[in-house]
Symmetry: C2
Subunit: 380 residues, 2 copies
């Protein structure tokens, strides 16, 4: 099996499982319990929270664990919108955000907020000049993802954050870093980032765990209320297993961030050379902003689903656009926003790599890829 769908989800790393599994049975206490089973669980949560906070040069009070990147994004947007200590009734996001941001924006629009979408250039990078025309004294929040989940383009966070805070220091800057976390450095302070969402299952931790990280002096409203866990900002018994796993996966991935990045530059280069030499009909989405972790290719007019299933028959697993919207058949909002021709967009598949993808496998994989493409040629 050649798994090239790491942007959709990843298997749990065995080292992560080893560290977190005891919290399901042996150390199963409820962190709120006063006896030592509870205290042990609470300590494990505290250690994980500190480790994650340290990665962002923040303290443990700046980390809120929740259940998914979607929930983290929702909590950031909804929480900032409902904070009584902030001003402005205007919220901005880029037009290539994840549906969890876009749908929350739409919901806020029906509740006394007006919203704007930032235009995105054909390179897949947001148009900062357009953002500059959108912001005003009335703007409360700007949300922009660090790396796009469909096309893998990195956004100029430092440039955006610096511009925002220079023009309107009161504007809150939220970054959905679900795809970016442990792939690129995420410098909250120099990027002037106020809130940052990350998710476990994209980095070798389980599904069902995520976090919202926030800078000092950021005030927002909780969504889920109850027993007051997570500093009162997100109630519900803590998913101790997931929390321990998230911190461990983050630590392991971050340790190897630079070396994996370097090796994938070479790995992707091999892909590009293979495609240009042996699969001339394949269209590649080229942009200097695309991370080496991502490769978007199309074989028009073959629909993406057909391409995907022919590759699957050869043991190669990829995605048609974003997995989150892949069961819908329309052209994705991302391809529309960057002005990709619908003819190409309908055929576009996403290859997303991880440290597990190696140059040694490429010879066999390319042979299988060529075979699938050969079969598809007969369909045209």
């Amino acid at each position: 099996m050649f798994y090239l769908d790491n942007a959709a989800t990843t298997p749990v790393l065995s080292a992560v499982l080893e560290k977190s599994l005891p919290y399901l049975n042996e150390h199963f206490g409820n962190p709120s319990s006063l006896h030592h089973l509870g205290v042990g669980a609470a300590r494990a949560v505290k250690t994980a929270r500190e480790a994650l906070a340290n990665m962002f040069h923040l303290s443990k009070e700046n980390v809120i664990f929740c259940s998914s990147g979607t929930e983290a994004n929702h909590l950031a947007l909804w929480g900032i919108a409902h904070s009584s200590r902030l001003k402005g009734n205007h919220i901005i996001a880029s037009s290539i955000e994840h549906p969890s941001v876009l749908r929350t924006l739409e919901a806020l629009q029906t509740r006394d907020y007006h919203t704007s979408l930032i235009r995105v250039l054909p390179t897949g990078v947001i148009d900062i000049a357009h953002l500059e025309t959108l912001i005003s004294e009335e703007t409360r929040l700007v949300s922009c993802m660090a790396v796009n989940n469909e096309i893998g383009t990195k956004q100029p966070l430092e440039e955006i954050g610096t511009m925002l805070k220079k023009k309107y220091p009161h504007i809150i800057f939220h970054v959905d870093a679900v795809q970016a976390f442990t792939k690129i450095p995420l410098l909250m302070k120099s990027g002037k980032i106020d809130l940052l969402s990350i998710s476990g299952h994209k980095i070798g931790a389980p599904k069902g765990i995520a976090a919202l990280i926030f800078a000092d002096n950021i005030s927002f409203s909780p969504v889920i209320l109850g027993g007051g866990q997570e500093h009162g900002m997100r109630s519900g018994t803590e998913n101790v297993f997931g929390i321990v796993a998230l911190a461990e996966a983050a630590f392991l991935k971050e340790q190897k961030r630079e070396s994996v990045f370097e090796s994938l530059i070479h790995y992707k280069q091999q892909w590009l050379e293979f495609l240009s030499s042996e699969c001339a009909q394949i269209e590649v989405f080229h942009s200097p902003a695309v991370l080496p972790y991502f490769l978007s290719v199309a074989f028009p007019p073959i629909p993406a689903e057909v391409f995907l299933h022919h590759l699957e028959a050869e043991g190669i697993y990829v995605s048609s656009g974003s997995a989150c919207s892949s069961k819908k058949t329309q052209i994705s909002h991302v391809s529309q926003a960057i002005g990709m021709s619908p003819y190409i967009a309908k055929s576009m598949i996403r290859l997303s790599f991880s440290a597990k993808n190696s140059l040694e496998d490429q010879h066999d994989m390319f042979r299988r890829f060529s075979k699938a493409v050969g079969q598809l040629k007969e369909l045209i």
Copy 2:
């Protein structure tokens, strides 16, 4: 170790772990992915959803998975309050609900709703006559837990549901069944229950997974928006591992529900005989409504935390009131609501049993319990 804190949390059952663990690595697909790793994960979620729905004689569309009982309660209350298809701006809950219900009620009160709390009798059972005086054409929702988490009293759900629907058929009836699920039968149809919350970690599944079950024709608004998972009612990548585990734990526990209930009647009886014969100073909270799974005892004026830690030194793990609020030192809202004297309430600890607690262990446990009580006597 004698673990008598099963109402706080439970270890994951080994059969549950065996069934669910492969979804963390071997079958790690994202249910939204189109290739067979995704399809396999989606199928596992579907099977779990059907199994859970079947337990309530409903179809799989009536089950929404989420991350905690707290989230399920919040989704029920917030979602019903924000449904445009329902009438009324009055919401009612019992005064002994979990904080996730009470805090959400308070939040709704600041947003165009008025709210009422149902009085509770000294037996720990809600005062239905009082509820009858509270409801009106304006009432949108009544929320009442099936079994109280602090004192273990069972509420007369069928009587409440029948009365509500007879007087005002439009009123929505929500039941927090987090403590009741797999302990007592939960008949949604005959109890006229519209929405029901359950949680995994109380029944031998992991923390971080729960569900909201709802009857046909119930319409409520989602809270977390995004990729449209869970029939669009709760977005975010599905916690496949947790979902499979929840369904399996529910199946296993429900299978043994009656036999465990019967055996705990005898088990608790032994406790009561032991306490009355050998620990005369111990006060027991007596009510016919208390399930055999629960036993609340106090050794006034010894504070609950001191009692708890002396028992812990003997290897007996209990809780001081509800684990969710056990880090707060005030008298719990439940003991206040049932009119328990503060003198007793400050000393009250909760023993909560499971199928793992056996008569064979009692001899040794009672000896240790007596030893702890003997030490406490010297403190008075």
